[in-house]
């Protein structure tokens, strides 16, 4: 089968050269319907957003470097934390995964492109406008949104600084973009799989994106609904969340977290897929427990719909509610534990080598598990009353989102860079990126656990003197982690410009159809579907 497909793809390549209507300059990128081009756009966009959100975090950490107010006003501090969260969630992590989906899904299932290429173009190109709207509010009289990325009513309605409309329309556009991306992924996976590729033969990467896309389709419209209610409450006199008119601000939290909890799995399930692809390749063993991985992913997705109120334990829920949401939340640890077990079992007695994709994946397994455990601690209702709204929560979700999602994105980038660019990345520079990142990220986030346990609240620009030493170290870790990402930029740019020529399959243990086309992947691949047995 291998030689057949390579020959076929070579033929494709030739075909591509002669009939290639690739436009030049900016028009190529504006009008492109090619999944690889759009994937590249998504990835670069998310990297720019990562640096933007990161820059905001640098100002936050500079302010928190020592107690007292030095650099920014408290109101501006709130704008920083809010937009940092929004940009990282909707601008950095989610588009990066959509970028991976665009680049890799068609190649992994042997499809010539995504099923809906024009919509694909549109779903990318509305994103920059969404973030232009959001970020432009920094330069307005009102200032940027300052009510936290969770935009609780009445902070975002009655007490809004006037930025609510900009915020709402930005979120609407991001939501439309995500929904279109998700529809595209589902249709592609359902209809464009190569003959012979049954659902249970799909790579796990494909499975996780498939399930994530369904989650997006289910909850992004609820987000659109809740921000619409916010808009009418603020500007058109409705009272969804206003007790004066018979509404209820606690209901806002229920609807928001009904979206918000599946959202956190939207940001981690694709990471599971990437890591589950990389670990078998460098352990040179098949993924341990493939079908249990599929079922674990699906059950995490289903459970995510019935745990939302664990974000709201302190709102005065009755005991029964607290117990229900506590037990359901802890239940999620079971399928997640299955996954961690399977990754470790895949490495067990494997012939492991430690190239950068593998290093980031191992770091992911260890550090994501730390984030998972702190999540389990937060799930316990009585303990949550102490941890709620402290730096412990900040430590928890940065462990799962930075050393979880972001590290999986780094791992995936190193893994597929040779396929994307046709060159091997510089291993020594990548090692610098890895070690600088891993040391600084732990210096940045680990002490936050202790700060939270000692009672330091989140989203506050000043703090008691007893927290000063830890915050200094956290800030130093933060600056170092931020700067380390410039090394990553250097690695990627260097790899695009040149470097050792990459073979079609640079990793000897790698599996999957994407390695059967040349490196760099030709503009058009699998115009005739490969045969999978």
């Amino acid at each position: 089968m291998t030689t057949d497909t390579i020959n076929e793809s070579l033929a494709d390549d030739h075909h591509g050269d002669s009939h290639d209507h690739k436009m030049t300059g900016i028009k190529r990128w504006l009008y492109t319907t090619n999944h690889k081009d759009i994937g590249t756009l998504y990835l670069w966009f998310s990297f720019i957003m990562l640096l933007t959100g990161g820059a905001l975090a640098m100002v936050i950490r500079a302010e928190l470097f020592q107690p007292g107010l030095q650099i920014v006003e408290p109101d501006f501090f709130n704008q920083l934390t809010t937009t940092h969260g929004l940009i990282m969630v909707f601008g950095a992590i989610m588009p990066a995964f959509t970028g991976f989906a665009n680049w890799m899904l068609p190649m992994m299932i042997g499809a010539p492109d995504m099923a809906l290429p024009r919509m694909n173009n549109w779903s990318f190109w509305i994103l920059p406008f969404a973030f232009a709207i959001l970020i432009s509010s920094f330069f307005m009289e009102s200032g940027a949104p300052n009510f936290g990325w969770t935009f609780y009513a009445p902070l975002s309605t009655t007490y809004s600084n006037g930025s609510t409309a900009f915020f709402v329309f930005a979120v609407h556009i991001m939501g439309i973009s995500s929904i279109m991306g998700a529809i595209n992924i589902v249709v592609t996976i359902m209809n464009l799989r190569a003959p012979g590729m049954t659902y249970m033969k799909m790579p796990l990467f494909v499975w996780t994106f498939f399930i994530t896309a369904y989650l997006l389709i289910a909850v992004m419209p609820v987000l659109a609904g809740v921000v619409t209610m916010l808009l009418t409450d603020t500007y058109f006199g409705t009272s969804f969340f206003d007790a004066a008119g018979g509404g209820d601000p606690v209901m806002f939290q229920h609807i928001f977290w009904f979206f918000g909890h599946p959202e956190v799995y939207i940001m981690i399930l694709p990471a599971f897929g990437i890591v589950s692809t990389i670990i078998p390749a460098f352990a040179r063993k098949k993924l341990f427990g493939y079908s249990s991985m599929v079922y674990a992913t699906a059950s995490i997705a289903l459970l995510s719909f019935i745990v939302w109120a664990h974000h709201m334990f302190t709102t005065g829920m009755p005991l029964f509610g607290e117990l229900f949401f506590m037990y359901c939340t802890m239940l999620i640890a079971v399928p997640t534990g299955v996954k961690v077990f399977n990754w470790v079992a895949t490495m067990w007695r494997g012939s492991m080598t430690f190239e950068m994709p593998m290093m980031f994946s191992i770091a992911f397994v260890i550090l994501f598990t730390i984030g998972g455990f702190s999540g389990l601690m937060l799930a316990m209702t009585p303990i949550d009353f102490q941890y709620h709204d402290t730096y412990f929560v900040v430590a928890h979700f940065h462990y799962v989102l930075v050393t979880g999602s972001l590290f999986s994105i780094f791992a995936g980038t190193y893994y597929w860079l040779p396929k994307w660019t046709g060159h091997m990345y510089s291993e020594s520079l990548a090692k610098w990126h890895f070690w600088c990142s891993i040391i600084s990220v732990n210096l940045l986030f680990f002490p936050m656990h202790f700060l939270g346990l000692a009672g330091m609240p989140r989203r506050i620009p000043d703090y008691a003197l007893q927290f000063a030493d830890f915050n200094k170290w956290v800030s130093i870790g933060g600056f170092a982690f931020g700067l380390s990402q410039l090394i990553f930029l250097a690695v990627v740019l260097k790899c695009i410009k040149g470097g050792e020529k990459a073979p079609a399959k640079p990793w000897d243990g790698a599996e999957g159809l994407e390695w059967e086309v040349a490196s760099p992947a030709p503009y058009h691949t699998f115009s005739t579907p490969p045969k999978v047995d």
Binding site: V186, P221, A243, G316
Partner: protein
Amino acid sequence: MNEQAKSNNKVIKKLVLTVFAMFGFGFALVPLYDVFCDITGLNGKTNTAAATYDDDGIDTSRSIKVQFITRNAKAVPWQFKPVINEIVVHPGEMKFVNFYAKNESKRAIVGQAVPSVSPGLAANYFQKIECFCFTQQPLQAGEEVEMGLQFYVDRDLPDDISTLTLSYTLYDISDKADS
């Protein structure tokens, strides 16, 4: 390829329908939430219409302390306070208490008091026969008023509850008030 487009369209139609259904579901959560809280008695919301007093006798074996607190939302320029801060009642016993309000600003303001009972599960057992919170309260500049609340505590109040706190939050609804 046409075959392909047809089967794509089938999937797309279903997915787009799901998107709209979930958008609707977000809004459906609003009435569902009210119904759910109403049935389970969660959330501390009391009934918004007058209850009728069913004369099934007074349970003198139990004494319930009812506390009254008030709060002005977003600096409504009214003085608003209970005339007495707490009262001890037997379940089934009807009581009448007054709340005092004075508009201390120089303009007419329509106020609306929104009640909430803590613990939340007791809300369904706190029965208001007459309450100023059922109506809007227009007060001219400098005008003052005593507003009445007639209530009883249901005999079925769970045994583990011995204190009820009734909290009123006063909102300025001048721009939303019915003329």
